[in-house]
Amino acid sequence: MVEVRQGSLVSQMRRGTIAYCVMALLREGSRYGFDLVRALGSVDGMVTSEGTIYPLLARLRRDGLVESAWRESPSGPPRRYYELTKSGETSLQEFIEEWARFSDAVDGLLRKGRQS
């Protein structure tokens, strides 16, 4: 048996999926960093350090999956709003399909293991 520490297992799963979770949140419309981070943080286990989302956003921006624009905010100084690009949408759609297939496969195997 391969021994996997629970903490590192969760963090690995989060690592592989967080970019798509960010993109999924942006599909509903553009958001600024703080808003995005708090929305992610409200889901249990998704964000351990809020600040680590910003390097991720920078990377997504560099890869052309999201773009950002400065916009006036109702209160206070202008904020950097993040938005999903066409290519980000395509990438997210691909992930959603892959994820459904993958999680179905894993669920199926886990169920099988329980029955036998």
Binding site: G33, E50, Y54, P55, L57, G76
Partner: protein, 191 residues
């Protein structure tokens, strides 16, 4: 908010800035600005002005080292711990030619190019300024003390001495900044 809060937050941002040392300036400033913004907005949601709350807020944002580690990871920036290879390269480039004429310096060049710690441009600088390192001016120095030397020759001698010291100092500074973070993709125009 109290002055103590300002101090806590300033300290946090300074730590983050230090952890991001070695990143290209634009990337560093952007990340700092985003985190600073985040803090400003998080502060508006605090219910009290207690130091405990400010600390909790910063803990939630995370250890600056973790944020920098994430940034290195996301941008495939590798950490380089300067070792024998890098120190050997610098020393041999400087005085290798004195120990073993020509060959000592050539070995230094080889070590320089093997090491992942420098960019190609920096390696080129280290190679071309000045071939032979300090062996050249020190060898020429024997002649420099001869009385028949004009000001032009003396100036050239000075340049030959100062140039390799300057270029190797530059490489050493770069090396130092990269012991925090080595920019593996420094050539990438996107940065």
């Amino acid at each position: 908010m109290s002055a103590n809060h300002e101090k806590l937050i300033d300290g946090y941002l300074k730590d983050l800035e230090r952890e991001l040392r070695g990143f290209p300036r634009n990337r560093r400033l952007e990340l700092l600005a985003e985190v600073r913004d985040h803090i400003a907005q998080a502060r508006t949601t605090l219910s009290s002005e207690s130091d405990a709350e400010a600390k909790t807020m910063l803990e939630r944002i995370g250890d600056p080292a973790d944020i920098a580690a994430e940034a290195r990871d996301r941008f495939e920036v590798r950490t380089v711990r300067p070792g024998a290879l890098e120190f050997g390269a610098l020393i041999l480039l400087a005085i290798g030619g004195l120990v073993l004429p020509i060959i000592g310096w050539v070995v230094g060049v080889i070590l320089l190019w093997i090491s992942p710690a420098w960019t190609s441009g920096e390696k080129l600088l280290g190679t071309l300024v000045v071939p032979g390192g300090l062996a050249v001016p020190l060898f020429l120095g024997v002649f420099a003390v001869s009385p028949g030397l004009g000001p032009m020759e003396r100036a050239l001698f000075g340049v030959l001495f100062v140039a390799p010291v300057a270029s190797l100092t530059y490489l050493a500074i770069k090396l130092r900044s990269r012991s925090a973070a080595a920019i593996h993709e420094a050539a990438s125009a996107n940065w």
